[in-house]
């Protein structure tokens, strides 16, 4: 690791933190509150056309012909686009480019994009879409992942002459099998072995803003795309490839973003289509997907069929864990290569596994493609394992919190699969939820139907594996200093509502001793901002934060130097803070930051600085060993209080205590918002949500009424408890908060239900029907599984 990437956990100035650690307002809060913030669909350009898509009504079919002539003839239609005009395939992972913006020869799920129309308004475009005639030849539709695993033909993604090896893979998207330590021997040594099947269903993001993109193609050959993406840089790369334009001729801008949760990480069909149609028509083009289209575009949580076996000694110490996982990928690869690795690689903390084996297979099916949803790839195994760990505690007659303490891996250690763990506040997380929930006095002692459950987890703070291999920095920052006293931060990082721009602003204010109001942030514009790899893998606070500190310290060095020269004192005596620059040994010497900027500009010319961050070399020494390697890990423990109505089978979560180790909480209010939002989302998918298709491959209910996300009334009391184990490499010791705290919500509910009524819910979602079935099967001793 470059020395520049480590800045220490302490404050930049001797007086202590001034801005960091405060629950400051967000840099864009009032703009959002007053309705002036501009989101993609708020952009209107002169002469703009509107696009609508024709989507496949078939789950799996070959396209025999497409006739667009009637659509083209409709009054008000300006262009119709079909797949053959965008033949180059793309995919967010460079090894698996298997998507076309519009279907070229076949369709792979109901909702797959087939053609697009640009017209004067949406009504005309919709009318024209209905006039496009497509002849299909039906193929066997794979709706069950077991079917896709067993039957290699017909292939959803066919082999081609240049890739004949695909033939032998049938409908397998990715297979990973890794083993660490003496797994079989460790099982033999175990006093107790628990084995079981678990199922995690599909769920989706449902950001309240539907996907939207606007494109303009200028006469000088410059393409500008405004898109509701959480990864501007990858969209720019994908556009360059598919449209065969130089990357330097493409500008991608992320306007204000109305939620993402992983659902806006892939390059999407609408981005290529509006760009191509802008080129084809010479006019600006917009596409706003309907809510129904967003459900079909999906990229959400993969359904996983999981078999787990865990061995432990009588004292609860684990000896071995063995997992076999079948992952239902849907129609395309998306991030699936990474998902398959993550399903195994991210389970190896906060508990020490002496030995571990996993065998994960992702298959293609004819359903909306799955991808990354908050807690990518690791939420499902975490559910299975944390329930199984609870079963182990039950069999060994141990307290569920104690069995988690007994297996704590410690800090400054390595996991069984070779991942480096630095700071680790998991024990403090357990202590916090145990105390806040009054666990010792209440667990196992609540009235009939009421119970407490615990679960823990670990998650990455960014990954050292960039989506495309390169040695360039993962995060870059540029600072511009104005003579007015204003500093502008340019970041390629994507603020998607999580508050990353506010983190930048607070760090600059802290480092330069400024009022946060004198710092502005320009973000996610590929023409203006240095490259950043975007908002995914919980990487932004860690990486953008470190890059911001790096840039500030270079700038600060120039400013302090110039002031010291002007005052003819040693630079060590010059400190910045509270909007001024002063001499620590002579109180009469005090100037404003603005005056200091002027002195520095006189001495060093126009002021500005860049900063960057890159990860150290990390990961296990084996194929795939870098996937899941992170410069720091966050840790979480939940206690959930639930009650079960034994008449109706309905589970209600009353309280959820979430203790999350995020390292330094740069802004505790924003951290709490991430913790609460994560726990809410986990509880929602455990109890209410189900993203599934029917026996024809048709979505079961693609609306926000049928796909039930919780309202304010459905959401339990969420108690966010912040644990700060300062990480040696994080910015001031900070780690992540946006994804980790989702994981334990789901198993903690299942474990609370066991405490309440003695049934083990191992298959999600936990519906009243599944609860009633388990209650009916409950043996007289009060234990059962479903």
């Amino acid at each position: 690791m470059a020395a520049r990437d480590q800045h220490g956990v302490g404050p930049p100035w001797p007086a202590g933190f001034d801005v960091v650690g405060q629950p400051g307002r967000k840099v864009d809060g009032l703009a959002k509150a007053t309705g002036t913030a501009i989101y993609a669909d708020d952009i209107v350009l002169p002469g703009m056309l509107h696009v609508k898509f024709l989507r496949s009504p078939k789950a799996h079919a070959r396209i025999r012909s497409i006739d667009t002539s009637k659509a083209e003839a409709l009054d008000g239609v300006r262009a119709v686009l079909v797949g053959s005009e965008l033949p180059i395939r793309y995919g967010v992972i460079p090894w698996t480019p298997d998507e076309n913006a519009l279907a070229v020869d076949k369709v792979r799920f109901i909702g797959d994009e087939v053609a697009a129309v640009a017209a004067l308004d949406e009504d005309t475009a919709n009318a024209a879409v209905k006039l496009i005639e497509v002849e299909y030849e039906d193929l066997h539709a794979f709706l069950d992942p077991h079917d896709a695993l067993e039957r290699g033909e017909p292939q959803i993604h066919e082999s081609s002459p240049d890739k004949p090896e695909k033939r032998s893979r049938g409908n397998i998207s990715k297979h990973v099998e890794l083993s660490f330590g003496e797994v079989d021997a460790s099982f033999d040594q175990a006093d107790e072995v628990i084995e079981g099947e678990y199922f995690f269903h599909g769920s989706t993001h449902t950001a309240i803003e539907p996907h939207c993109a606007v494109a303009r193609y200028d006469a000088d050959g410059l393409l500008t795309l405004w898109s509701s993406t959480q990864i501007t840089h990858y969209v720019q790369r994908a556009l360059a490839s598919v449209l065969e334009l130089p990357q330097a001729r493409i500008r991608v801008i992320q306007p204000c973003l109305g939620g993402a949760f992983g659902g806006k990480s892939d390059p999407f069909a609408l981005e290529f289509v509006v760009a191509k149609l802008a080129m084809k028509t010479g006019r600006p083009v917009k596409c706003l997907w309907t809510r129904e289209e967003v459900f079909y575009a999906h990229r959400g949580r993969h359904p996983m069929h999981m078999h787990y076996r865990t061995g432990a000694m009588k004292n609860g110490r684990l000896t071995a864990v063995d997992a076999r996982i079948l992952i239902d990928g849907g129609a395309y690869s998306s991030f699936g290569l990474v998902t398959t690795y993550y399903s195994g690689q991210l389970l190896t903390g906060p508990y020490d596994f002496p030995s571990y084996r996993f065998d994960s297979t992702r298959v293609f099916t004819n359903k909306p493609p799955c991808g990354p949803k908050r807690g990518h790839g690791s939420v499902q195994p975490r559910f299975a394992f944390e329930v199984q760990l609870d079963q182990m505690a039950e069999h060994l007659d141990l307290d569920p919190i104690e069995i988690r303490r007994v297996n704590f891996q410690g800090e400054d250690t390595h996991t069984v699969n070779g991942q480096r763990v630095t700071s680790n506040g998991f024990m403090s997380c357990l202590d916090a939820v145990e105390s806040a929930s009054d666990w010792k006095a209440r667990r196992g002692k609540l009235p009939r139907g009421h119970g407490l459950g615990v679960a823990g987890s670990m998650y990455i703070s960014g990954t050292n594996y960039p989506v495309y291999p390169n040695k360039l920095p993962q995060a870059g920052i540029q600072l511009k200093v104005d003579r007015s006293g204003l500093v502008t931060v340019f970041t390629g990082g994507n603020d998607i509502g999580q508050g990353s721009n506010t983190v930048c602003q607070m760090i600059v204010a802290e480092e330069l001793g400024m009022d946060p109001g004198d710092v502005r942030v320009v973000m996610a514009d590929t023409d203006l901002c240095p490259v950043d790899l975007g908002a995914y893998s919980s990487r932004v606070t860690f990486m953008v934060g470190n890059a911001t500190i790096d840039a500030c310290r270079k700038l600060r060095h120039q400013i302090v130097d110039a002031v010291a020269v002007a005052w003819e004192v040693d630079a060590a005596r010059v400190v910045m803070g509270g909007g001024s620059v002063r001499d620590t040994e002579d109180g009469s010497r005090l100037i404003s930051v603005q005056e200091a900027f002027h002195l520095a500009e006189e001495r060093h010319d126009t002021l500005g600085a860049t900063g960057s961050y890159n990860t150290p070399e990390l990961g296990g020494d084996y194929r795939g060993g870098t996937i899941g390697a992170s410069p720091a890990y966050s840790f979480t423990a939940h206690v959930v209080e639930a009650h079960v109505n034994e008449e109706t089978g309905r589970i209600t979560v009353d309280n959820c205590w979430i203790a999350h180790d995020c390292g330094r909480a740069i802004n505790p209010m924003l951290v709490a918002g991430q913790i609460e939002g994560s726990a809410y989302m986990g509880i929602a998918e455990a109890l209410m949500e189900d993203h599934d298709v029917n026996r024809f491959g048709l979505h079961a209910g693609p609306s926000l009424l049928d796909y039930r996300i919780p309202t304010s009334i459905d959401t339990p009391e969420l108690h966010a408890l912040i644990i700060e184990s300062l990480d040696p490499e994080g910015p001031y010791g900070a780690k992540e908060a946006g994804e980790g705290p989702l994981h334990p919500s789901i198993p903690a509910i299942s474990n609370a239900v066991f405490d309440a009524v003695g049934i083990r819910l191992t298959h999600l979602p936990m519906t009243p029907a599944s609860v009633l079935a388990a209650l009916a099967d409950r043996p007289t001793n009060g234990k059962a599984s479903v």
């Binding site: 629950p23 400051g24 307002r25 967000k26 840099v27 864009d28 809060g29 009032l30 959002k32 509150a33 007053t34 309705g35 002036t36 913030a37 501009i38 989101y39 669909d41 708020d42 209107v44 993001h205 449902t206 950001a207 309240i208 803003e209 539907p210 204000c256 973003l257 109305g258 939620g259 993402a260 949760f261 706003l288 309907t290 809510r291 998607i496 509502g497 946060p516 109001g517 505790p668 209010m669 951290v671 709490a672 918002g673 609460e676 939002g677 726990a679 809410y680 989302m681 609306s703 926000l704 009424l705 996300i709 309202t711 304010s712 009334i713 959401t715 969420l718 966010a720 408890l721 912040i722």
Partner: protein
């Protein structure tokens, strides 16, 4: 050809005469004819509440309300709250908007114009709602970011400050209550 109709609306206190297609919703007129893009379209079928505006003071889903039905009505969008507050002698944004910002209730912010208007309508009718009444009044507005916790806290903060009482301290701040005193706005007095 589309049939057009001339509508006479009062939007945020302004008299606006607009020709719009007969089938347009109030949301379409607000966003497309008047450029008031603060009202958001999240589902276009009345499920999410992001398009909520006030019609004669009552929260209404503008995406499933025909614009023609708003003829002669008083419409308040998110853009109207601050000017109304200033016109009434207040400073800056409406206390609801201020409290949402202070409490961190605005993450992506997309659902919040509708959410804040629902909160404003509640407080106009009941200046001291209980937490249950707050949750009930906001149940038609879906938020996917916050888990509603900081939203409910923001409305409670408005209630507490109007009553001159101390708002409850959140779980994440075991020390000093962060909302005891209004923090200075960013940029000092500007």
């Amino acid at each position: 050809m589309q049939t057009m109709r001339v509508l006479h609306l009062r939007v945020n206190g302004d008299r606006r005469d607009i020709a719009a297609p007969d089938h347009w919703t109030l949301l379409e007129v607000l966003r497309y004819s008047l450029g008031l893009t603060g009202s958001k379209q999240g589902c276009d079928k009345g499920d999410c509440g992001a398009c909520t505006v006030l019609v004669d003071g009552q929260p209404v889903l503008s995406c499933i309300t025909l614009a023609a039905l708003s003829e002669g009505r008083e419409i308040t969008t998110i853009e109207g709250l601050m000017p109304a507050h200033v016109a009434a002698g207040g400073q800056g944004a409406d206390p609801v908007q201020e409290a949402f910002d202070r409490c961190g209730a605005l993450q992506c912010g997309f659902c919040q114009p509708g959410m804040m208007l629902s909160a404003r309508a509640l407080l106009n009718e009941n200046p001291s709602p209980s937490p249950c009444e707050i949750k009930d009044a906001l149940a038609g507005n879906l938020c996917r970011c916050t888990g509603y916790t900081q939203i409910v806290q923001a409305v409670e903060l408005v209630v507490a400050e109007a009553a001159g009482t101390e708002p409850a301290s959140p779980a994440w701040a075991p020390g000093e209550n962060p909302w005891k005193k209004a923090p200075a706005k960013k940029g000092g007095d500007a």
